[in-house]
């Protein structure tokens, strides 16, 4: 059980996340694939629709009034992208819960730790509550910013800009710190199998700086990894293009400047093996990014709950913090 003097180690938390990647690389890949596959499928669905819309609008150029066909296309596009967003949000909840489960309840490893049950419902509710709270906080900060802006507006031009920049930076940092403060509620909910708002809040007490710092560190690692992967990917793409392995003739035969979406579809169709291979690599990278960003906070929660500073060996949830 966590006590008020409990501490967590950022190094241990990040190490635990990497350790999870080493122990369960296939799970990490599957988590990434589940997130990437719908996005790729969504692009395959949405680009042709956008191409149709651009083509219909080009045909209607110069005529007055809305075209029912364009309106119908727009409605279909909006509905499809909305549904896609919801599916991606749902999948995100399932994957984030799986990462937390893999870290905090490692024995429940079957089917890549993926489930669809009360844990997922709790994480969805906690996530939505945090998002709603964040929007309320942003609204309040905007109001406060406006009041300060009105009060200092008479100071003149350079001071005004300094105040505006200062307010924006302060608001951004305040939101990030607030998110760090509540970041342990979700993993605590998986750990205790309940809405652990109180426990998660208590774990974060006195740890806000460390949690915020860990977030920054995780972000830097992710930027570094993504930079390296992107550079290697670009090098391979350029080399393949120079060696004639990629087909650029098809897109050039299309009028990219008139209808870029149709042109992009042609690029995808002509080079689909390259894009498929890229999507697989992207899945591994995305899985690793999620494991690092979610797993490190799950590990911190486990440490603060008194599981010995590393991944808990037992699936038994500790007693709820009194």
């Amino acid at each position: 059980m966590g006590d008020e003097m409990a501490r967590f180690s950022i190094g241990t938390a990040i190490n635990d996340a990497f350790s999870l990647m080493r122990r369960r690389p296939l799970s990490v890949f599957v988590w990434g694939l589940i997130m990437v596959a719908p996005s790729v499928a969504g692009l395959g669905l949405l680009w042709p629709m956008m191409g149709d819309m651009v083509a219909a609008m080009a045909m209607r150029a110069g005529t007055d009034g809305p075209d029912p066909a364009v309106m119908a296309n727009m409605m279909q596009f909006q509905a499809a992208s909305w549904l896609l967003n919801i599916v991606q949000l749902l999948l995100m909840v399932v994957i984030y819960t799986a990462v937390m489960r893999a870290m905090l309840r490692p024995r429940e490893s079957s089917f890549f730790s993926l489930r669809l049950g009360m844990d997922e419902l709790r994480i969805a509710v906690v996530g939505l509550a945090v998002i709603v709270g964040m929007y309320i906080a942003i609204f309040v900060l905007i109001l406060i910013g406006m009041a300060i802006g009105f009060a200092t507006w008479s100071a003149g031009s350079p001071t005004n800009w300094l105040v505006i920049v200062g307010l924006i930076v302060t608001a951004f940092v305040a939101i990030c710190i607030a998110l760090a403060r509540v970041s342990l509620i979700a993993p605590a909910s998986v750990l205790y199998r309940t809405f652990a708002f109180a426990e998660g809040w208590r774990f974060g007490r006195g740890q806000t700086g460390s949690l915020f710092g860990m977030g920054l560190l995780v972000m830097l690692i992710i930027i570094l990894v993504e930079g390296i992967v992107f550079t290697i990917g670009m090098a391979i793409a350029v080399a393949a293009g120079m060696a004639g392995g990629m087909n650029w003739a098809t897109p050039h035969s299309h009028t990219m400047d008139v209808n870029p979406f149709e042109g992009m579809n042609a690029v995808l169709a002509a080079n689909w093996p390259w894009f498929a291979a890229g999507a697989l690599v992207l899945s591994m990278v995305y899985g690793a990014v999620m494991t690092l960003s979610v797993g490190s906070y799950a590990s911190a929660c486990g440490q603060l709950a008194g599981n010995g500073g590393s991944i808990p060996a037992d699936e038994q949830s500790p007693a709820t913090v009194a």
Binding site: M71, A79, I86, V125, L128, A129, L143, A147, F150, T194
Partner: protein, 309 residues
């Protein structure tokens, strides 16, 4: 049973799982109301078209007479009067559902007709909610008038900057005050149903010292409603497109044909869309109202002799 905010927040799901037929009954009630409203609206489109034509014709008149303007206003009033029945009926249906959910949590054995009744409980709930809404509305008006006076005083004394700060802080203060008031009054309906009396302000006594857990419970319940609506949009949005309702809400509002298509009850997709919306509305009512009844039950420990445990 001790009151736990997170436990109580789930009471709506428990209630529906315990008695799924209650959800069916609430859905049927909502569906009947929605379809009847749709039928009335579809009958209004023709007269509204004729009224629009009359109004457009009057726009061409340089100086319309008072008689012409009165005739136009009377015509519009006549059309709106056809829908006037919807307001009291919606209030009654709302009271029936609020009482049914409270009854489902507090007296689970009386599950006939999905706990739906139309009797003294419903009348009391209707009166209590109406009075409390009036109190809140009146309070809001008073609060904003007081804030306006404060802003004016601040502007006179300290200029625009001071007025802005007072305005922002006052707005935030008023929002906080109304949230506090809403939470403190939130158990009025369960008390009214459980104790079979007009419990206008008794909720203050029961919620004393329990503001934060009740607020947390309410936040979780609202978030669960958001989640249900988000998930249900995966079904209702495609149905909305098929029924033509989406086309109406997306810029086709001026086209009578689009509006007529959105209210065309001979289109099965319109019915299907209305039914799905009714299911979501019924579930939403259960998720949102049941936690407050559970909170009352757990806080009082079922001490009220009218609660059937």
């Amino acid at each position: 049973m001790a009151f736990s905010a997170t436990d109580a927040a789930f009471e709506g799901f428990r209630l529906v799982r315990r008695n799924p037929l209650a959800l069916v009954a609430w859905t049927l009630l909502y569906a009947v109301l929605t379809l009847t409203a749709l039928f009335s609206l579809s009958n209004m489109i023709g007269p509204l078209e004729a009224w629009s034509a009359q109004a457009e014709a009057l726009e061409g008149v340089e100086a319309p007479s008072m008689d012409q303007l009165m005739a136009l206003a009377t015509g519009f009033g006549g059309i709106m009067a056809q829908m006037a029945w919807l307001f009291p009926v919606s209030l009654v249906v709302g009271a029936m559902l609020a009482a049914a959910v409270a009854r489902g949590v507090l007296k689970p054995s009386g599950d006939k007709f999905g706990y739906l009744r139309l009797g003294m409980d419903e009348l009391r709930v209707l009166v209590v909610t109406f009075v409390l809404s009036l109190v809140m509305g009146f309070g809001a008006v008073l609060g904003f008038v007081a804030l306006g006076v404060l802003i004016a005083v601040a502007k006179a004394g300290g200029g625009g900057g001071a007025a802005a700060i007072v305005g922002v802080l006052g707005c935030l203060g008023l929002i906080a005050l109304f949230i506090w008031l809403a939470v403190r009054l939130s158990l009025a309906v369960p008390i009214t149903v459980a104790e079979k009396r007009f419990a206008f302000f008794d909720s203050f006594g029961v919620t004393k010292g329990r503001f934060w857990p009740l607020l947390g419970m309410a936040v979780i319940a609202v978030v669960m409603v958001l989640l249900v609506e988000l998930l249900s949009s995966m079904v209702s949005m495609p149905l909305g497109i098929l029924s033509g309702h989406q086309g109406w809400s997306m810029g086709g509002g001026q086209d009578p044909e689009v509006v007529r298509a959105a209210f065309d009850l001979s289109n099965p997709w319109v019915i299907a869309h209305a039914v799905v919306e009714a299911i979501v509305a019924a579930l939403t009512v259960g998720i949102l109202y049941a936690p407050f009844a559970a909170a009352y039950r757990d806080i009082t420990g079922g001490s009220s002799n009218t609660i059937d445990r």
